[in-house]
Symmetry: C2
Subunit: 336 residues, 2 copies
DNA sequence: TTCAGAAATGTTATCGATAACATCCGCTTT
DNA sequence: AAAGCGGATGTTATCGATAACATTTCTGAA
C-alpha cells in the first residue's frame, strides 16, 4: 500500500511475525515442519506488509527462475500466434511468466542465439515451437538437465512433444471430399520442411491410396494467400480439378479468389477444404469447410508436460497428440 | 564448450585473466577506467571460458533486470499480435528479453495482477498495449520510477505514448471514397471504448462534415468477421449505401460476403475500404482497399522511448505518432 | 522420570553480480 | 624532491532469497 518505501524483504516479514527469515521461507515454500500457528502468523505478516518474494534472489540461489522461455519463429501466422497466447495464459495460471524469443528463421545459429538468451535468464524450462526439421537439429545444444517440450516438432525425436494429429486431420478432410463423390482430391501443401505440412501430405496421400483414387501431383506453397492465389490460377484452368484440400485457410482464401475470377463456382464446380479454422473462415465466399486445431489444448498439454519434467527428474519422454475436428461449411458440403 | 561443469562465474574469469572480479565487472559494463591491455586480457578470458553473466545476480543487486514486460490483451487479433512480435524482435536486438503478460479483459483487477507479476520479475520497463480507456485508468498503480510506454493508449494522458495516427488513416479512407464520387460514406466501427475506434470514428466524421456530406448513423461492432457479416446484411438491403469504411479488414470481409449474397457488386454497386492491411486483404473478393499501419515502426519507436526513459531520469513525456498509408485495391478504386 | 528421536525453529554460508571505498602507482607541479 | 592528483585496480559489503547445519522444544516409550 505504501508506495514510497522500498518493497519489504523477507527479513521485514520475519521481524513482524517474530520469527527468523528462514521460517518465513519455509512457509512460503510449503515446507512440512512448521507449526500451524506460526504459519498463520507469518501469513498475516506477509499480507500486512504486502510482501512478495524477490524472484531474482530466488533465481540466484536456486539457479532457476519462475520463467518459461518460448522459442518460436517470428511470425504472426494464426497457428503460432494463437499457440503463444494460449500458452502464456496457461503458464500465468500456474504462476509462471513467459519470455518469448522469436527467430526469423529456424536455422541453427538463430536458434542458438535465442536459446542462449533464455539460458542467460535462467529459465526454468523451454517450449520450442519447432515446426521444421531444421529446428529440431539445431537443438542439440540445449543442456540435458533443462526441461524442454516441443510443440509440432519431430515425432520421432523421442523428446517430449505435443502436437495436433495432422495426419488424422488431413485424412478427415480428404475422406470428406471423396465421400461427397469426387474422384480424387488435389492438395496444396505448406512448405514441405514443416512437420505440419508433412503430416497433412501424408494423410492426404494415404487416404487417396486406400480409396484407390489417383494421386494428383503435389502442389506446394508457402502459407500465404498470395501463393494460394497463384496456385489457384493454375488449378482453375484445369477442368478435371473438382476438389482441393489446402494446408491452411489463407491458401484456401487465395484459391477461392482465383476460382471466382475464372468463373468456377464453389462448391458447384469445385469443392475446397482448408485447415486451421481461423475466425474469419466462416465468412469467406463461400464459407470455408476446414479442419479446426485445438491450440488451447495443445498449449495446456505442453505446459503440463513441462511442469511434470520440472517436478520429477525422471522425465519420461511423453508425447501427447491432440485430435483435430472437421468443420463442414458451404465450400465443401456433404453432397454437391 | 564443456557442457558438464557448471557455467563459469565472474571469479573464474578473473582468475584466468589474473585480475579481480571487479575489474571483470568493469570491462563488462564498459567503465572508462580500465587499461586497454587489461580489457583485452579480460575479453580473451571471457571468450575462452564462454562466460556469460548471470542476469539473476545482476538483477538482485541492481534491482533491475534485462527484461521488459509487455501488458497486452490476450488476443490473436492481427494488430496486437503483430505489435508484440515486432516489439520482441526490436527488444532482442537491444539485448532485452520480453516477458508477455496477457489479460482477458483490460479491467482494473486483471491489469493489476499482470503488473504485479511483472514487478515480481523486476522488469526494467513496461510496455502497455492499452487500447481501451478502462486500461488507462487501471494503471495508476504502476510505480512512478518504472519506465513505461503506452501503445495505442490515451493521447491525453500525458504519458509516453506511441500510436498510429488513426484520425489521419480514417480521413484518408473517407476522403478517398468521397473523391471517387460517393455522396457520403457509412462507417462500421470497432468497439467504441477502444482508442483506435474512437480515432477512426473521429476522422471519418470530420472528413464528412468538412465536405458538407451527410453523416450517416454510426454502426458499431466488435472486430470480428461475424459482426461484419451481420452488419453487412443490413447495409446490403439499403440501396442508398454505396460506400462503406470499416474499422478493420475482418469486418470488411464479413461485409463483402453479405453484399455478395445479396447480389450487390463490389465495387460497382458498393465500394468498401478496410483498415490494417492484413496479409490476406489483397486476396479478398474483390481485393480490399485498406489502410496499412506500420506496426514495426510503432514497436521500434516504443522501444526507443522506453530505453530513453531508462537512461535519463528526466524522462520527458514524449509522444510519437506514426502515419498510416492508404493502399488502393479493387474494392474501392479511384473512380467507379 | 528420563531419554531418544522427531518436529520446530534459528544461524550461518552461499549464489554471482554491482557499489562503495581503499589502495597503489606514475606523473605533473612547485 | 615532496606533495598532490587522477587513473587503474583491489577489497569488502551488499542485494534477498535458499541450503545446510545447529539448536531448541516437544512427544512418547522404557
Amino acid at each position: 500500500m505504501d508506495k514510497g518505501s522500498r518493497s519489504p524483504a523477507m527479513t521485514d516479514v520475519a521481524r513482524l511475525a517474530g520469527v527468523s527469515h528462514q521460517t518465513v521461507s519455509r512457509v512460503l515454500n510449503d515446507h512440512p515442519n512448521v507449526k500451524e500457528q506460526t504459519r498463520i502468523r507469518v501469513r498475516a505478516a506477509i499480507a500486512e506488509l504486502g510482501y512478495r518474494p524477490n524472484r531474482a534472489a530466488r533465481a540466484l540461489v536456486t539457479g532457476r527462475s519462475q520463467l518459461i522461455g518460448v522459442v518460436a519463429r517470428n511470425s504472426t501466422l494464426f497457428g503460432p500466434a494463437t499457440m503463444l497466447s494460449e500458452f502464456e495464459q496457461a503458464a500465468a495460471d500456474a504462476g509462471f511468466a513467459v519470455s518469448v524469443g522469436s527467430v526469423h528463421e529456424l536455422d541453427r545459429s538463430s536458434i542458438s542465439a535465442v536459446v542462449d538468451r533464455h539460458l542467460d535468464q535462467r529459465v526454468a524450462g523451454l517450449v520450442v515451437i519447432a515446426n521444421t526439421a531444421s529446428a529440431t537439429e539445431a537443438l542439440a545444444e540445449i543442456p540435458g538437465d533443462l526441461p524442454v517440450v516441443f510443440i509440432d516438432g519431430d515425432p520421432d525425436s523421442g523428446r517430449p512433444l505435443v502436437t495436433v494429429d495432422q495426419v488424422a486431420g488431413a485424412r478427415a478432410a480428404t475422406r470428406h471430399l471423396l465421400d461427397a463423390g469426387h474422384e480424387t482430391v488435389w492438395h496444396v501443401s505448406g512448405p514441405t520442411d514443416w512437420f505440419d505440412s508433412a503430416g497433412r501430405i501424408q494423410g492426404w496421400r494415404q487416404t487417396l491410396e486406400e480409396a484407390g483414387a489417383e494421386v494428383p501431383p503435389l502442389l506446394s506453397a508457402d502459407w500465404s494467400a498470395a501463393e494460394g492465389y497463384r496456385t489457384g490460377q493454375m488449378l482453375a484452368r484445369m477442368p478435371e480439378v473438382t476438389a482441393i484440400f489446402t494446408a491452411n485457410d489463407h491458401l484456401a482464401l487465395g484459391i477461392l479468389r482465383a476460382l471466382h475470377e475464372r468463373g468456377r463456382r464453389v462448391p458447384h464446380d469445385v469443392s475446397v477444404v482448408g485447415f486451421d479454422d481461423v475466425p474469419e473462415a466462416a465468412y469467406f465466399i463461400p464459407p470455408l469447410t476446414t479442419v479446426r486445431q485445438a491450440f488451447g489444448d495443445v498449449a495446456r498439454a505442453a505446459l503440463s508436460l513441462l511442469l511434470g519434467q520440472m517436478r520429477d527428474e525422471n522425465g519420461t519422454a511423453n508425447q501427447i497428440v491432440v485430435p483435430p475436428q472437421l468443420i463442414v461449411r458451404e465450400s465443401a458440403p456433404r453432397r454437391v
